[in-house]
């Protein structure tokens, strides 16, 4: 049993949790959502174990580095932060329906890591540029931020859903939390995510400065993280303009998450190269 197996199993546990949350919401079965919570907790435990084991395995192989160095590892950490933050919110606010919109994201992230043929789950040694504690801080901060934005994305979708005007009494919408609460939660998460994204960009800059002698070089990955930052800065300021709470914020939050995804996956499709590989 190695870490990759555990993470593959965790993928299915998350899938089951997501399915149960959706089932509980659609058929209004609160009991099922309690089960879903326990499944999510088990998934989180598996995810944690997978990450820790990977860390130990890398020491056994003689490479000895924290498991935050490639796409596979970052996706495993991403789903971990999503579920951890989500469970925290659930315990704090006592609403389980949000899980129907959020746990599937953790499932998708981990499924992509485990199943995509383009992503290698091999533990690789660190190339010289990646040997830095700033890198660890950078990856952790970025993905905690991305996790918060992922949940804000789920909540924004719920908000837009809730706002939809329907003639008939739609029970699905009734079970969703109040629009005001969703908006407030969205804002809280975006503040939290913005702080961590800022820390992520800053630690990335400090790392770049120690490795290449420049803290900012406008390479596509850096630029896209800045674009994401601009979008969430707009979200924070939009609340100050009258009438911009609610729907515009939800739309911007979805746009912000699209930018997150592009920073993460899309940049590789662009011309030019991000500096990781080159030296």
């Amino acid at each position: 049993m190695n870490s990759s197996n555990i993470l593959s199993i965790t993928t299915f546990v998350y899938g089951l949790a997501g399915f149960s949350y959706i089932f509980a919401w659609v058929f209004n079965k609160p009991v099922v959502s309690k089960v879903a919570t326990w499944v999510a907790v088990i998934g989180l435990a598996g995810n944690t174990a997978g990450i820790l084991m990977r860390w130990m395995e890398s020491y056994q192989m003689g490479y000895g580095h924290a498991p935050f160095s490639n796409l596979y590892e970052s996706l495993a950490f991403f789903s971990w932060t999503i579920v951890l933050l989500y469970l925290f919110i659930q315990f704090k606010y006592g609403n389980r329906i949000i899980g129907a919109f959020v746990t599937p994201l953790a499932f998708l992230a981990l499924a992509y890591a485990s199943l995509s043929p383009n992503i290698s789950d091999r533990i690789q040694p660190l190339i010289p540029a990646l040997k830095s504690n700033w890198l660890i801080a950078h990856v952790i901060a970025c993905f905690v931020g991305y996790g918060a934005f992922a949940i804000a994305f789920g909540i924004s979708c719920m908000y837009l859903f809730k706002q939809k005007k329907t003639n008939r009494q739609n029970s699905l919408l009734n079970y969703l939390p109040e629009a005001g609460i969703l908006d407030e939660l969205n804002h809280q998460l975006i503040m939290f995510g913005f702080l961590f994204l800022s820390v992520g960009i800053i630690t990335g800059a400090v790392w770049a400065n120690s490795a290449w002698g420049r803290y900012w070089g406008w390479d596509p990955k850096e630029t896209w993280s800045l674009i994401t930052w601009f979008i969430y800065a707009v979200v924070l300021h939009a609340r100050m303009v009258r009438g911009w709470r609610g729907k515009p914020t939800a739309i911007l939050s979805i746009g912000g998450f699209a930018a997150v995804l592009f920073t993460y996956f899309g940049v590789n499709l662009l011309p030019g190269l991000h500096s990781y590989g080159s030296f």
Binding site: Q124, P128, L195, A205, F230, V234
Partner: protein
Amino acid sequence: MPKQETSADFFSKTWDFFASVRLTIVLLLTLAATSIIGTLIPQNEDPAAYFKAFGQFLYRLFNILGLYDMYHSWWFQMLLILLTTNIIVCSLDRISANRRILFVRHPSFRLNRFRNIKNKEEFVVDEDPEQLKASCQTFIARRFRHHAIETTDNGFAVFGEKGRWTRFGVYTVHLSVIILLIGGLVGSIFGFDGFVNIAEGESARVIHLRNTNKTISLDFVVRCDDFNVSFYETGAPKEYRSSLTILEQGREVLKKDIIVNDPLRYKGISLYQSSYGNLPSDEAILGFTSRKTGMVYRRKAVIGQPVVLPEKLGTFVLKEYRSSADFKGHNIGEAFIGTLTREAGSAVQIILPLRFPSFDKMRRGDVTIGVIEHLPRFYTGLQVNRDPGVGIVYTGFILMIVGCYVTFFMSHQQICVEVDKRGTTTRVTVAGTANKNKLAMQARVAKIAQRLGSQARRT
């Protein structure tokens, strides 16, 4: 004087324009949208490559718009200047509008404000207000930075306040953005960004600047004593290490091994490990086999330095290294070329291919020469930078993180505990306000009421 009026009018209109958050939103979205362009068009490449990719018309158009170095183009810089103005004007505007809240030494409390708060916590105790006064006051004093007490008709009210300073969090964030931009500007005006390649054992003083053909001479000399590269079993690089020495007027002043992520800094200039390469080799361990005695003599040979052989076999000089040598029309790969001078005075040229160690046997001389070990030579590629703006930028970084934390997670809180006699019992009312996160403040008020209640019952 109508003329003055219009200029004042113009000023206030401009001020309002720059104080608006709508402008911020427009600017930030414009920055986000235009930044995408520079990620689609690779920046700072050879003009010929752009011409080939885009064709004549688009090439010209993009050139005029500065899209090949767009983050330094006039219009992008213009957007940044507008944003800076926006931040400054807006912050000044808000600070002056809120100065009565922001700059007070001793806050004053108005009881009516707290009485009008909708969500209050209440409980009833048997003690007289006078009995509760001291404990209530210390309770608030311990938890709030400022406190005050006021006597009312049937009892008293204790006020507490803390976190007024957190209102400056937003301005700290805004200031940090400006500091970052200033730091970037300082770096681009007073700094430079260059590189130099130094062969092992050699020194350099002059460096080349990137993106131009200019060179700069440093105040000191850098010597590369050694360069090493190591690999994992997978073939991936593990470490690049250069041993550098800084010399001033011929004196060694600093020695350091640098690796990626651990540069050398001296007099505001940083030297980073950035690349490496192979150089023509200039030394080798050679084996000289005497035909007469069969003895093998192992000698280190350096290009240009004669090696005197025992048994009066002559003197050998390594002349040069060729990365691909020819022998009678055949390419024999990497080889050293040397000359052997006999005691008698006649000299022969000798080819020593690295791939064929016993090649020299063919010559059938008194001595056969072969390369036992070839010592490869590297040069280290150093990134040489000076950026006096880094300190400013890092200050901005810290201010931004601290400012965001304070703004998002701390608040300015006020609380009022009113205690008054109602017939035979005493009623205690707790009410609080905060400038942010009002839900959390309500929970806090409830908790304080609960604590106060249990404390009163104990006495």
